[in-house]
Symmetry: C2
Subunit: 369 residues, 2 copies
């Protein structure tokens, strides 16, 4: 059985409107990049929105052309016969605003100046991203999503959908998320920021696109990378092996784990825009579901739809206790809530690396909707 | 009661000898900076060596002059009536080689060139540090230490003493240590290294002492700082508070935790040498008690003296499981071993922040020697 969705294409929807942001600033006109997989049914009730993490994009499944090296980021979840079965569901994946993967962000033209926004781009919150997604869902003439599902920053988006558009979503599935970003997580992002700020090529965001602050940005990515892994997954992958080519007693000799971080940081520089990375880091740091509510309790009281939550035992970026804080409040409020703590060694990345561990729960949940 | 040791002075011992290092290189002549507190008894049997962590120094207790702002780093442990009671014990604290606090290190003159070693300094291991300490102990005409006690890198030194000088130490107390540095810990040090390498002022170690790579070094220190804290201690200290002076929706606005990291990173630059920091990070990364043994089992079989081990529940840099790996092997070998897992919210730093939590166990252990 061929379970790939096949060749897909990223579309763009343009909105000649201004979004009023949480900061009070306005952003518009807007473009949202998105992909769709499967067919919308007649009563337009089978749409599932999948929401990506920090450096993700709209390309969640399939390949862009025949020799595409890598499929979309959740290709193991989306396709005929998979948990997001494209014979049953109409799956939508959209790039968040603030990113650089086709939606309006710091690399977009600022209509006020005719030049790229760069640091004139307004600070956006996850709530703003979700409001922009709502424009896309309206554009697709879908009144009510069957579900919003996402990991990490995608989990935040799922929760915001449930709370701010209770009439337009039938269920949410936040995976490896948090109700509010912890100071530890902010501190790690602060390291990433400072790594970029320290690079003379950054020029306060005014780098030339062909000369990004590569050294600083690669280091920033390495900070993130470490926080997505776990002590155990690093032991499994690298142990204490020394890099084959380097001398252990050379000052510049490296362990395998260092070489890996170097390599991945450097290759990332070509795939993402530095300013966009910083804006999304800011959105992550500012995330607090209780923002503009009196309390976590009040915020969560707005959620009416069923929710399914996953946390991973070895995730130290958004540890299970942070999901449990939210789940326990929902339980106290007698909301329909299901929580699964998944044993996995792969840290925060588990939601991408070991989907087979939570897919059965997710499938059961979707079948019951 | 005045329980301070009072005014103290750092001494230096010079050794006109060459130390053969684990790398095969030779280092000498050597200088070891040290401080002593209390009085050596007649049979020279009451000496306790305290071993410092990464950026520590010989100044473990008391003050250097009347208006000294801060006492030594373990002043709450060393003094009349304290756990290292200077009315009973003769306490020795020495600066490790590779550091910049008075012992031979990258800032010392290379006798071969008449100029500072900088990156011509040889890579040293913790085992080399301990061999240099042995020169000092011999110089003080002490044949057998009552105990070697230390936290973090100090714990590694204590363990090495027990294994490589079994006839010269009556007990060891490794606190918040590990038997071998994990890839997670190496990865964090790799971030710190890269932060320094990225700074144009670093100049491959040839920075002018008055113009150190301050931005990169401050960032490197911030990496360390995060790993010494815990999610809980950051919550207690900073929560999600935004910096009073900054705007939440300003691109450059900061959370309190960021301001703290900035401040501490920057102030550290004036207190430590960048190259020394890198050499000590390397020594930490290379640490493996089984180095030059066939196995952990064989290495630990060399330990004959009683040992007392402390780990802290919230320490994620050297988590309790790493101490337990060593302790369990010692138990299997029926060695005299005592292990205390201390509940503390202060992460790796707990050994400096909450000594009152382990002092009673330590006191009992010392009393029994």
């Amino acid at each position: 059985m061929n379970d790939s969705i096949g060749i897909v294409k990223t579309e763009q929807a343009h909105f000649d409107t201004e979004l009023r942001l949480e900061s009070g600033r306005r952003l518009g006109p807007l473009t949202i990049a998105y992909e769709c997989y499967g067919k919308l049914n007649v009563d337009r009730s089978n749409a599932i929105l999948v929401a990506h993490a920090w450096t993700g994009d709209a390309h969640a499944a399939g390949r862009h052309h025949e020799d595409d090296r890598r499929p979309g980021w959740w290709d193991n979840m989306i396709g005929p016969g998979k948990v997001f079965d494209t014979r049953r569901y109409f799956v939508i994946s959209s790039n968040v605003i603030g990113s650089c993967k086709g939606s309006t962000g710091p690399t977009s033209l600022n209509p006020a100046t005719g030049r790229a926004y760069r640091l004139n781009f307004p600070v956006v919150m996850v709530r703003d991203m979700v409001r922009a997604q709502k424009l896309l869902i309206d554009h697709l003439q879908i009144d009510k999503l069957l579900a919003v599902v996402g990991g990490s920053m995608g989990a935040m988006q799922a929760l915001e959908w449930g709370i701010h558009f209770p009439d337009h979503v039938r269920a949410i599935v936040p995976i490896a998320g948090t109700g509010r970003t912890s100071p530890m997580s902010i501190a790690l992002n602060a390291l990433a920021r400072q790594a970029i700020y320290n690079d003379p090529l950054w020029k306060k965001g005014n780098y030339r696109p062909e000369h990004p602050p590569a050294d600083g940005f690669a280091l920033a990515r390495a900070v993130g990378h470490i926080s997505f892994l776990s002590d155990t997954s690093m032991h499994l992958k690298f142990a204490r092996r020394f890099s084959r080519m380097d001398g252990m007693f050379d000052f510049f000799g490296r362990f395998e784990v260092e070489r890996y971080l170097d390599y991945n940081g450097s290759s990332f520089v070509d795939r993402f825009d530095t300013n966009s990375f910083l804006y999304l880091a800011k959105a992550l740091d500012l995330y607090d579901v209780a923002w503009r509510f009196d309390s976590l309790e009040e915020a969560l009281s707005q959620l009416v739809c069923p929710s399914l939550w996953f946390a991973f035992s070895s995730d130290w970026l958004y540890p299970p206790s942070q999901t449990e804080e939210v789940v326990e409040e929902l339980q106290r409020q007698k909301k329909p809530v299901d929580y699964q703590l998944i044993e996995s060694d792969y840290g925060h990345d588990s939601f991408l690396v070991e989907p087979e561990k939570f897919i059965p729960h997710l499938k059961r949940f979707l079948d019951q909707l």
